[in-house]
Subunit: 423 residues, 2 copies
Amino acid sequence: MQHPGKKNAFYAQSGGVSAVINASACGVIETALRRTRHIGKVYAGRDGIIGALTEDLLDLGRESAATIRALRHTPGGAFGSARFKLKSIEQNRAEYERLIEVFRAHDIGYFFYNGGNDSMDTALKVSQIGESLGYPIVCVGVPKTVDNDLPHTDCCPGFGSVAKYVALCTREAALDVASMARTSTRVFVFEVMGRHAGWIAAATGLAGRKRSEPPHIILFPEIPFEAERFLERVAQCVTDYGYCVVAVSEGAAYADGRFLAEAGTRDAFGHAQLGGVAPVVADMIRQRHGYKYHWAVADYLQRAARHVASKVDVEQAYAVGKAAVELALQGNNAVMPTIVRKRSKPYRWTIDHVPLAEVANRERKVPREYITADGFGITAACRRYLEPLIAGEDYPPYRDGLPDYVHIKGVPVRRRLKTRYQI
Amino acid sequence: MQHPGKKNAFYAQSGGVSAVINASACGVIETALRRTRHIGKVYAGRDGIIGALTEDLLDLGRESAATIRALRHTPGGAFGSARFKLKSIEQNRAEYERLIEVFRAHDIGYFFYNGGNDSMDTALKVSQIGESLGYPIVCVGVPKTVDNDLPHTDCCPGFGSVAKYVALCTREAALDVASMARTSTRVFVFEVMGRHAGWIAAATGLAGRKRSEPPHIILFPEIPFEAERFLERVAQCVTDYGYCVVAVSEGAAYADGRFLAEAGTRDAFGHAQLGGVAPVVADMIRQRHGYKYHWAVADYLQRAARHVASKVDVEQAYAVGKAAVELALQGNNAVMPTIVRKRSKPYRWTIDHVPLAEVANRERKVPREYITADGFGITAACRRYLEPLIAGEDYPPYRDGLPDYVHIKGVPVRRRLKTRYQI
């Protein structure tokens, strides 16, 4: 397919945000704004794809170059994101037709969609429906997910920074626990994200090298939880090392698929347990062993932790954004840039691409050979895979003691359609 | 009192550790090791005061200068700390006599005790009992507490770094929530430490300047919690800003003194709620308003977050350690170095000292004039007080993508006493 002549470009963020999704935005926008021969205006959807459906577009040409540049060091989704999965074409053709209507009204020929598996599926469908409605649009996905579960790419932008953060937190908190263990806290439980894939949990393993070094136990979603075996190991660690640090994925589950965090405990009013697998695991340990414990739930802190982002991750996030625009202008459609590992030590990577059809709705879990035989740790192979992804620091600028993050002006594009769209 | 001729020095860490307690250790040790005319060996207690009672001493002269230097950037308590409050002299004179016995056996003439209110009380008593047992010992407290509740000092080393961390986390997580609010999370609840004083909660207020900027609501231990007023404010924020960020102190309590975190909810087995005030507050909001929420409990992550320590805090932590040794050698006994604010903007401070008797067992809470009239925010005066304390970054060195923290060798001092002591 040839690129569609000079057309406007549309960029949107989708799903859970990350510390570096704006770095990808920066890559897309800076590149698109420079390609003035082929790209006219560069727009973003306010609140992701919802902005396209409701014709709520932001004119990125009206932002200063400094603001766009500062997106590279600003976490969160600068234009708003959305948890809004388009239904299948059969179920809701009107949604897709509306998108094409808006794109047509604003002469948009390029659609850059920054998200995970679901979003790649949406981008693919938009490309197909555009074709069938006689308004061909170049759709390029920009990979993003802290869960690191997209196939065909060495890693997913967003993951490296979370990985660095959780490994660092584990190392720091473990020093605290080790200091206190003689008379106080013996067990520390740290809950991290990753409902279906244990990549983030695995990354906590980077905090230590030897078996004696924390985290002593990692609970992966990929390994069915066995309470007895786990509790025995906790006691063994306290005996051997004086304390025990446990990293647990929010997706840790029993063999029958029940999440630990939804293990059926209810409060006095019959409400389901208030959530968080860390307190559940900590309480199991208290009941069995009586150890004094502490627990932490990092939640959004982990995926917003731009202050200690991985330099490699920031560079890759920018690179896939830039590559998305270049791929589009080279005549590619319905593709996603991927990161290809050339070497692990030192880490060498390049950008390639795959058809969206090969990415959409597929999930990459932690392979069994990355998890130790006992199911509680990471192997040397896993460490070789993970270590390069957390390399380097890329500190944001500070003002008055805090990171100086940017907010966009957000200049709206004048509406051209009479019709309104209700979400 | 004159200084006691050439004697050995003993240093111990006490209570909850911090990101910079080792920076104070570094200040004490580097200064003491240089003062060879008056100080012989420099020892630390393994696991704090317990090391003194059990004659478990570490010879710090056997650590490399590089290791001692690296303590400045290493969080946690490098020698181990202890939650072990000595009883009153009337209740357990034997404990104090044992301390003096060990100090005498090892020719220890200087006792540097790094802790909070309780520890200052202990240091004072040790000084008194030494005198009465005919083994005078110079006791100097080294202030440390993330709770910032010691009187007579502008702030407490340890606090500035937690303050910086929680303000930064609030700013970062709020960007995440703001991105997601249209279709997903509307409310984010962030739990911070501070069981009796709301200094850490107050510091989250530094994340925003305007009323519209997060955190929108801070729950202080100093302000009795009123559920109705709180829930109304949450709804107002969601209406006005699209989302609401709540920072809650673990010490938030009802007017009758009950902590929110112990609000009587029990699980199906009759166990008390698994702890954490954040999930309790988040669930209150869900029940009333039905908003989708997320919550985070930073727990040890906040007080171990050396990776983003306040430069001012690190400098003050080192300075009080250094000053403690200098005060002792200048003939002061039963004192604690204090930080004196000369100016707020730009921040200028010096070191002075107060008698331990004026510090021991006293607690400084957040004054009412630092909290807005509605009880949910911080005033300009509070901001003027807090802002200098989080100024500057003092990044640790990194290796393989993670902070390169040091572990001491920990060379034990040969025991000289026949008697054993059971804790």
